[in-house]
Symmetry: C2
């Protein structure tokens, strides 16, 4: 099984380590045969990145001819490119795709998935939502549920900031602290304004409700103007809630009471609540971090090697 | 795919309804061809149970010759019989087994699993721990983790009683209430003394740490003599914690602090925390109820029909 990695930042490096250090029977024949970044293509499997050929990702695909492409590049929410074209090209050739990159699926879920189906190739994307904490893959083991609603805390940056604000910090102080700790980027706009969470609930909504929506269909609102004090006086907390049902998908800051499961999900943790005709379950875990995202892609790779596919495809 | 049900109480009835009402592509060819109880065997699929042949479960297996046996009978912790013999006989003939009944696996996990492996048949048992809330099946989607510890609240009856005691009720009052609400049986001994949770953590320990232990190897302690008031004065709660690592497996009431995830798991809910080299995740959901147990078996059946097996087998 020949694997080509796209992107070789912290996630890519952590993924390469997992491939070499984890002894999983299913992955015995996995070989990284190419790593491509914006700088070019490396045609060997070594820790230090060097450029063997100055090519772009699509040329790299021709060059390497892998069985699986694993995209760990950063998201381009304007067009999804170059990842989007890479997925479509790969899937049409019967090459499977695993991705930690939300943008192409948040923008063009239906196009990507139907391309996979019509060419009998597969796309796995656990790490696009909640990193290595099962969210997409949880769906695999809950067959036949009639899902009524899904609700989650899907952005760790804003959850950390809201948690610290409820402990007395101002928004600016909490943001600065989150940046110092590496929980927020230097330009935190896409976290703070709810866009990142909107991309994630778009993907979840498509999976859990078999929909075909794009992030452009999703209303989102950020955490800049929340009334933490008012909520606290009422014994509540403010959480940035991503919500979806059969008809609606949105992200907005909401007041949650002590009885709400999400009330207790603090700091950088993420959580997902799935309410179905059978039961209400919750899963909680880290939603970010290079090792966590790499593990999300790694678990996808193992499930792919076991012959699984997304249920319903 | 011919299915024989063993046991036809509330769980069996709920399971039969799921088979008929859920439209899941993988289950289109499933047919219930026999239902066997202590009264005998019914050779048709109808809601009201009638006896067609006065036979026991092993004779019923010969009579029906199913592809899958689904055991929803109540647990016999002394010997695991007659379910244990049924599983071994079925698995040796290449007949798959799905069970909601903990006893045979809590007593003879290794014998049952190795019989399945050596005859290329499968045994699935999600519903033995946390009912329809993924616990065993969660393991399927977390490949390659190095699990360090698992901890859980695996018995809803005791968790309900402890929750109500922390709200001011005495043990006797809380137990009576739990019985009135149907959360505790008339003879609640095996819940109260920790034995039921011990059976569950035995099974989880075998799955998550590839061990071969029996419930007889597990120390357990019940909730009869807990110091709720002392714990509350320290800002803590008492929870009946089931714990396992590579070496140890036990059940005992423990004081947990507000920072502990399990602190917030109240009432009849169950929870499982898995700490690995990658991350700490938690899953919470109902751990009992006829529909929930039936769904656990139903989800196993779908995974079986998808061609899955327990990872590592």
């Amino acid at each position: 099984m020949k694997v080509m990695l796209v992107g070789y930042g912290n996630v890519g490096k952590a993924f390469r380590k997992l491939i070499h250090e984890k002894r999983v029977r299913e992955a015995e024949d996995v070989k990284i045969v190419g790593i491509v970044t914006t700088r070019g293509l490396m045609l060997k499997d070594q820790e230090e990145f060097t450029v063997d050929k100055k090519v772009d990702v699509l040329q790299a695909l021709d060059e390497v001819q892998p069985d699986v492409v694993i995209d760990m590049a950063s998201a381009n929410y304007k067009t999804g490119e170059p990842s989007l074209s890479l997925y479509l090209t790969a899937l049409k050739r019967g090459i499977h795709v695993i991705t930690t990159n939300k943008a192409p699926l948040a923008l063009k879920y239906k196009e990507v998935l139907s391309t996979a189906v019509s060419h009998s190739s597969k796309i796995f994307f656990q790490a696009t939502v909640m990193s290595g904490t099962p969210s997409i893959n949880l769906y695999r083991i809950l067959p036949g549920m009639k899902v009524k609603t899904i609700r989650g805390i899907l952005n760790g940056t804003t959850n950390y900031i809201l948690t610290r604000m409820s402990q007395g910090l101002s928004f600016a102080e909490a943001l600065r602290e989150a940046q110092e700790l590496g929980y927020a980027e230097r330009d935190p706009t896409l976290d703070i304004n709810g866009f990142d969470a909107a991309g994630k609930i778009t993907i979840l909504s498509n999976v859990y409700f078999s929909r075909s929506i794009s992030i452009n269909d999703v209303k989102f609102e950020g955490i800049k103007d929340v009334d933490i004090k008012g909520a606290m006086e009422r014994g509540n907390k403010i959480k940035l809630i991503a919500y979806a049902d059969e008809k609606e998908t949105y992200v907005k800051p909401m007041e949650v009471s002590k009885e709400d499961f999400l009330y207790n999900v603090d700091g950088v943790n993420n959580a997902l609540e799935i309410e179905s005709d059978i039961q209400k379950i919750n899963i909680v875990g880290p939603g970010a971090g290079p090792l966590n995202a790499a593990y999300g892609a790694f678990s996808d790779l193992i499930l792919l090697l076991r012959g699984e596919n997304l249920p319903g495809l």
